[in-house]
């Protein structure tokens, strides 16, 4: 079976590798194994103290490869976007997320017995 190892923190590299694999499969070329090397930058959950099982130095090293930073650098270096555009984009997204969270917090709680609904879809 053909296979490839790819930097899973680099979205463009992942796209190119998976596209080649998927194109080949769609042409009838059979399965293709892609190993994308990734790292989880945050604890597994709010209950997970990841300082117990991984050194900070390791985390800091991988944090430099944060896919968002990698993409940001690439966009700047390739001249696809400038600093002002990216900063405005980031601020806009941040605002949108905060607004959505604020909206969600302001919604009334559901009635407890709403837990009983939607088990089955009614026939039309």
């Amino acid at each position: 079976m053909p296979s490839a190892v790819v930097d899973g923190m680099d979205a463009v590299a992942v796209y190119q590798t998976v596209k080649a694999a998927a194109d080949q499969a769609r042409r009838g070329g059979g399965p293709y194994l892609v190993e994308a090397k990734c790292y989880r930058l945050w604890p597994h959950s709010s209950d997970d103290d990841d300082t117990r099982y991984r050194p900070r130095a390791e985390l800091e090293e991988w944090a430099k490869k944060d896919p968002l930073l990698v993409m940001r650098t690439r966009l700047l270096e390739d001249g696809i976007a400038d600093e002002a555009t990216l900063s405005a984009l980031e601020a806009g997204v941040q605002e949108e997320v905060l607004e959505a969270a604020q909206w969600a917090l302001q919604q009334p709680d559901p009635a407890p017995e709403d837990a009983l609904g939607y088990v089955f879809k009614e026939a039309e």
Binding site: G117, Y118, V119, F120, K121, E122, A123, E124
Partner: protein, 325 residues
């Protein structure tokens, strides 16, 4: 209409469903060639491109069906033997059953999963299983267990039209054994209803699949002895028709539940609990269960297989004891 077997009723309903609706397609192992039981025989030629062979991977067959249903198709997945479906249990239990619930009704999955179940075909430990208790325990999935050809036809068509996931169980021993003239035969069109197929005042027997036919044979024998039986064809375990179950219990005060599945945690336990909760004052005897013994699987040896499965003689004997109680 003509006299048809269970298998012919299933095949006919599949063709009818595909004829009615272009979105209906069939997927499963070897279904293009007709499948091991020949349920899809001839359909690939008649409906080109709509009968699709899959790899030997039940989780993928069911997972792909979820995707197809979500995108507006009406998949009918065939699981070659019900015993193999558990590889796809997570897809049914953790995904398909919750699609509607998780989205507050914004999304739903009109999909059918067909699976031949049950013993009596010398199929051994991996081709004889009853699975209704596992899947009947999952709210959000309908589980249908017909017994007569007319109901196989009408309920399979109802399953395809249902907007929810339906597990459609076909008793493999009855595929060629049970025949019925479709014209004039009662045919349930609503999933979730049971039917009283014989009425008598002494003992009520509740069964499904092959056991329903054994129960009817036992009832005939008992009638000759002056014991009149009510017999309930369960038809569906989820939703469960508690009303008809209790009606049958109240009619005689004595209930015998028969299933091939092993005793402990079998679906008979839920039926017994229903009767005890809702018809207790009408009972004249303890609710009795006649089931497969609590061993891991149906044995291969013919004598052991026969020992495992309840049959008309044992049903009659249990009903006699109840009548005399």
């Amino acid at each position: 209409m003509a006299v048809v077997t269970v298998l012919e009723a299933v095949r006919g309903a599949l063709a009818e469903a595909m004829e009615r609706d272009d979105r209906v397609l069939i997927l499963g192992e070897d279904v293009e060639a007709g499948g091991v039981f020949r349920a899809t025989d001839g359909l690939a030629a008649h409906f080109p491109g709509r009968v699709i062979d899959t790899p030997l991977a039940e989780s993928s067959i069911i997972g792909v069906s979820i995707g197809l249903a979500h995108y507006g198709m009406r998949p009918i997945a065939e699981i070659q033997f019900a015993d193999f479906i558990h590889a796809g249990f997570d897809q049914l239990c953790s995904e398909a059953s919750r699609w509607c619930y998780r989205t507050c009704g914004d999304a739903w999955l009109p999909m059918v999963v067909r699976a031949p179940w049950g013993g009596g075909v010398h199929g051994g430990q991996h081709h004889s299983q009853s699975i209704e208790a596992y899947y009947g325990h999952i709210p959000g999935i309908k589980v249908v267990v017909p017994s007569f050809p007319a109901d196989y036809r009408s309920l399979l068509l109802a399953a395809v039209e249902d907007p929810n996931p339906v597990l459609f169980l076909e008793h493999k021993r009855t595929y060629r054994l049970i025949r019925q003239e479709l014209a004039g035969a009662p045919a349930e069109t609503v999933i979730g209803r049971s039917r009283i197929v014989r009425r008598g005042e002494d003992v009520s027997i509740i069964a499904w699949g092959l056991m329903l036919h054994e129960a009817l044979a036992a009832a005939e024998t008992l009638a000759g002895e002056g014991i009149a039986c009510t017999v309930v064809d369960l038809l569906s375990v989820q939703p469960l028709d508690r009303e008809t179950i209790c009606e049958a219990a109240k009619a005689t005060g004595k209930v015998l539940i028969v299933h091939e599945d092993t005793l402990t945690g079998g679906f008979g336990a839920e039926i017994a609990a229903t009767i005890v909760e809702h018809a207790f004052e009408y009972l004249d005897a303890p609710v009795r269960r006649l089931c497969g013994p609590d061993v891991p699987a149906m044995p291969y040896h013919h004598a052991m297989e026969a020992f495992f499965m309840p049959d008309r003689e044992r049903i009659a004997a249990a009903a006699r004891e109840l009548a005399a109680y």
